[in-house]
Structures are given as C-alpha cells and as structure tokens.
C-alpha cells in the first residue's frame, strides 16, 4: 500500500467505526425516547396534579400536554432514527428531542429541581455518540428553554412564580461544566478510534501482503515444476523407446517413478497454496462442462487404489449414468482429497465410495472405517489450517477440506460430514443437477 492509500484506508475504517456507533446510539434513543414518553404521561397522571394544584385549573391539561406535546417531541427524532439512522441531522434532532423531553418532564413535575437532573443524564447519554457537536445543539436547547420559560413562565421550569431573569445562566453554567468533560471524553475516544482504525489498516495491509506473496511465490514455483515434470516425462519416454532393457535402465526407470511421485506431491502442495490465495481474494473459478460423475469416480478410484493403504470399494446407486455440468478437474481434485484423507484415517480397512442421485443433487459418499470425528470438530475441520487431529500436525497443511468445500460451493453444492466416534466418518459431496 502507498502512503496515500494507507491514509485513505484509515479514514474508511474510522468512518465505518463511527457509523456503527452512530447507528447503535440512534437505536438506543428510539427506546429511551419511547420510555420517556410514557413516563411523561405517568407523571402527568400522578405527580403534576399534586404540584400544580391551586395555580392550574385541571388535571386534563397536563395529561393532554404529556400525551400530545410529548408525541410531537419524540416522533420527529424517532422517525429520523428509524428512516435515516447514522445521519448527522438525525443525531442533532435526537439531541433536540431529548432535551425538549427534559423540558416537558420538568414542566410536568412542576419544576422540581430533582427533575432537572434529567438534563445531565441526557447529556451523558448523548455523549455515547462521541460527537461533541451534538452536545452543543442539546445544550443550546437547554439554555434557550430555561431562558424563555424562566422569563415568561417561571413556575413551569423553576416551580416558583417570581421571575428571576438570570437564573437560566446558572443552570446553563452547570450544563457547560458537564459538557467540558463530555467533550474531552469525545475527543479522547476519537483519538482511540483513530488508533484502532490505523491498526486495522496495518492488519489489512499485512494480510494483503501475505496474499500477494503467497500468490507470487506459488506462480514462481510453478515454472520450475513444469520444467521438472516435462524433464521427467521426456526421460521416461526416452527409456520407453530404448529397446535395451538392461538392469541399469530398469533401475533408472524405478528411480524416475519415485522422483515423479515426489514431483507430483510438490505440484499438489503448490496447487493447494495457489487455490487458497485465490479463494482469499475471491478469484476461485470453475470451468464447468458436461461430465459423467460415476465414470469420473470410477476412474479416480482405479487410479488411486494402488497407492493407498486402504482398498477402495465403489458402489453405484443409480442405474442410469449421472451426468451434469461441473468442472471435471475440480471435482476430481475434491474427490482425490476426500479419498486420500479417508485412506489415511481408515487404518487399512476398506474405503467405501457411493455415487447416487437425489431429486436435485448428485452425491458422492466417501466413507472410512477410522476413529471418527467428534461432533465439536465436525465444522472446524472445514476451516483453513485446521485438522481433526492437530497432534499429527506434521502431515499436511490443513488446507484440503477447506479447498474441497470451496470447490463444491463454487458449483452451488457443498460438502458435509457425518461421523461417530469409533464408527468412522462419511463425507458427502453434493453437486447440483
């Protein structure tokens, strides 16, 4: 990554993080405002008749104020939170709505000083946004409300009928006092989020470098491998054309077979590593063509059998050939993987293969008679770098089943396992028809 893209990535990560916080907090306020609305109605029914008796005419007025005015106050921010979550305007409207609810609750309780604490609680709650600008909007609403009601209707806000023109300043000063600390917290939080965004970028960068490296490395390995393979084949053909069958030639032939096995093994590892890097960047593709599944399974079993420690038994459950549009190379790769795996764990007992057809899928079952896989491991083994028995970590990279799953998923199918400890495992390849 260049410095420019690094910076951009940090900004993208930070914005994404902030957006998650904004949306989450918007949601919290939907609940809070709804609760406050009903608490307001409760106050109008219980507290306000007692505090306002004598100066106000009837209970009805407060119930009306709580239910209608309250509904107007909360509906705007709740509407925005529902339909425009995460927007800047939404959280400012929520800030205004929350403070107007404070004002209404203060009014309903007849200006009790205790209810004024609601303002401070609300500010702290708005601090969840970690956006200092919301605190300014909310505080402005508080100041204006206290000023105007303090002058024109002091009983509604301070519970007294005498006008004290500067009292709003004292209230606002306490609000500012809280704002200072909340804003400091917001800025600190922003700094920390930027830190997290940067670390995330570094991780993304490292992962990208790794993927690029693996991909280049794999391709670089492929060229000499292709040469090696050609070299071996040419030598084999040369020997075949050589009529002289001396013991020395025979020995060379044997050595070549052994060498060829090793080169094939190396090719498979390189192939697996390249597959992984392609899966990683979402470029794992298949080349489907019409093919006969039973035939392929038969050929693969026949070809693999001599090299396996456990014999292969094949059963075709379908009377007619199972033909579909799949990638024969990839299906073969998956099959080879499952069969060699099964043979490895079947401890000499037969590996059973079954090909069958259901209404929507063609299936190949590969069953071993090994020790089985515990239920807790059955999902894990399909993950990257995982093995059912990590203690024999030395054999294999733990990529096989992950690739098998990706091959089948690329076809629109899947692979699953059913197994019981002590009774062996059955892996089922599902291909859509």
């Amino acid at each position: 990554m260049t410095n420019e893209t690094r910076k951009k990535q940090i900004e993208t990560n930070l914005t994404a993080h902030q957006m998650r916080i904004y949306k989450r907090t918007d949601k919290l306020f939907i609940y809070l405002l709804t609760i406050e609305y009903f608490v307001g109605i409760l106050f109008s029914l219980t507290i306000s008749p007692k505090t306002w008796v004598g100066t106000e005419s009837a209970v009805h007025y407060h119930v009306w104020a709580a239910s209608v005015l309250g509904a107007i106050i909360v509906s705007v921010p709740i509407g925005f939170a529902l339909f425009f979550p995460g927007r800047e305007l939404t959280r400012h409207l929520i800030g205004i709505g929350q403070m107007l609810m404070s004002a209404l609750l203060i009014h309903l309780t007849g200006g009790r000083i205790e209810t004024h604490f609601h303002v401070f609680g609300s500010l702290a709650f708005l601090g969840f946004y970690r956006d200092w600008k919301v605190l300014i909007t909310a505080s402005a609403v508080v100041a204006l409300d206290h000023y105007f009601r303090g002058v024109y209707w002091p009983q509604s806000v301070y519970g007294i009928s005498v006008v004290e023109p500067y009292r709003w300043l004292e209230h606002s000063a306490w609000v500012v006092f809280e704002d200072i600390f909340l804003m400091i917290a917001c800025w600190q939080s922003l700094r920390e989020m930027r830190d997290i965004a940067e670390r995330r970028m570094l991780l993304q960068d490292a992962i990208q470098s790794r993927d690029t490296f693996v991909s280049i490395c794999g391709h670089e390995l492929k060229t000499p491998l292709t040469s090696l393979k050609l070299l071996l084949d040419i030598q084999r053909r040369n020997l075949e054309k050589d009529p002289d069958n001396s013991p020395a030639t025979e020995r060379t032939r044997k050595l070549l077979v052994s060498l060829n096995t090793q080169v094939d093994k190396l090719s498979r590892i390189v192939g697996d590593v390249l597959d992984i890097s392609r899966i990683e960047v979402g470029k794992f593709t298949i080349r489907p063509q019409e093919m006969n599944l039973g035939e392929l399974v038969h050929d693969v079993a026949l070809r693999l059998s001599p090299g396996l420690k456990s014999p292969c038994e094949l059963e075709l459950a379908s009377p007619e050939p199972i033909v579909g549009c799949w990638d024969p190379d990839r299906v073969e790769q998956a099959l080879v993987n499952l069969i060699t795996n099964a043979a490895k764990y079947s401890s000499g007992k037969a590996v059973h293969l079954m090909v069958k057809k259901t209404s929507k899928t063609a299936e190949v079952n590969v069953s071993d008679q090994g020790g089985g896989i515990a239920l807790k491991d059955q999902e894990r083994i399909f993950e990257r770098y995982e093995q059912a028995h990590p203690e024999d970590r030395m054999t294999g990279l733990g990529l096989g089943l992950y690739i098998v799953r990706n091959i089948l998923r690329a076809h629109g199918g899947d692979v699953r396992v059913s197994s019981e400890i002590g009774k062996g495992s059955t892996f089922t390849m599902e291909l859509p028809l």
């Binding site: 090696l228 050609l230 053909r237 080169v263 298949i286």
Partner: protein
C-alpha cells in the same frame, strides 16, 4: 510442424524436445510477437498446430489469439492453450481453442491432443 510459443526458455526447450522425441517437427517462439512474425513470414501453411502460453512479455496469448482470429488463413490453425488454471478460466469465451492444458503439463494429455490435431507423419521414429 508444431509452433511452440512459450516465454520460459527451459520449458520451451523441453517442449520442443518432447515433441521431437515423439517424432514431430517443431518451431519455437519466445513471445507473441515472435510467434506472429514466424506465422506471417514464411511457414504459416506448414504449421498444423500452435501450443500457446498465455502469460508472456511483448505480446501475450490473448493478443496473439486476437491477431490470429483477424487473419483469414491463420484463424484455421488449431490452438492448444497452456497456462495456470485461473488464467485458462480467464481465457474462456475469449480465446477460441481446441484444448486447454493446465500447468504443470500432463504430457500424456498433451500428446493425445497433439496426435489428434497433427496428422503429420512423424518425420523419423526412434
């Protein structure tokens, strides 16, 4: 005659060697431009099959194929693509070809395809 187009020197040499052992005459090119020059200049009517690598400097397999298709004579020569699997999948629907063989090459498959498209009598058997 078979035209081998491959940028890696070693693989190019080994491919011509393999075909030679199997009794086919070959001509080799190290990149797409060389291949096209060879085809256009002289022996285009003698070349019965093209083994084409995809990733090459100067002119890659995609560009070679495009120019082959534009030429009324050359477009009839069968093409066998040799490359990594994912490049073959990129080439699909873009490069008309008679066969696609993944690297590392399976020579049995390669020879089967060669025999299919190259009826030329082996010049000499050993």
């Amino acid at each position: 005659m078979i035209l081998v187009v491959e940028d890696d020197e070693n693989i190019r040499y080994l491919l011509t060697e393999l075909l030679d052992i199997e009794g086919y005459q070959t001509v080799a090119a190290a990149n797409g431009e060389e291949a096209l020059n060879l085809l256009k200049k002289n022996s285009s009517d003698q070349i019965k099959l093209i083994l084409l690598d995809l990733m090459m400097p100067v002119k890659n397999g995609f560009e070679v194929s495009q120019e082959l298709q534009a030429d009324p004579v050359l477009s009839h020569i069968p093409v066998v693509l040799m490359s990594a699997a994912f490049q073959l999948s990129l080439a699909e629907n873009k490069i008309p070809s008679q066969a696609q063989i993944e690297k590392p090459l399976d020579t049995d498959r390669l020879m089967k395809v060669v025999r299919q498209y190259c009826h030329e009598t082996p010049a000499y058997g050993r």
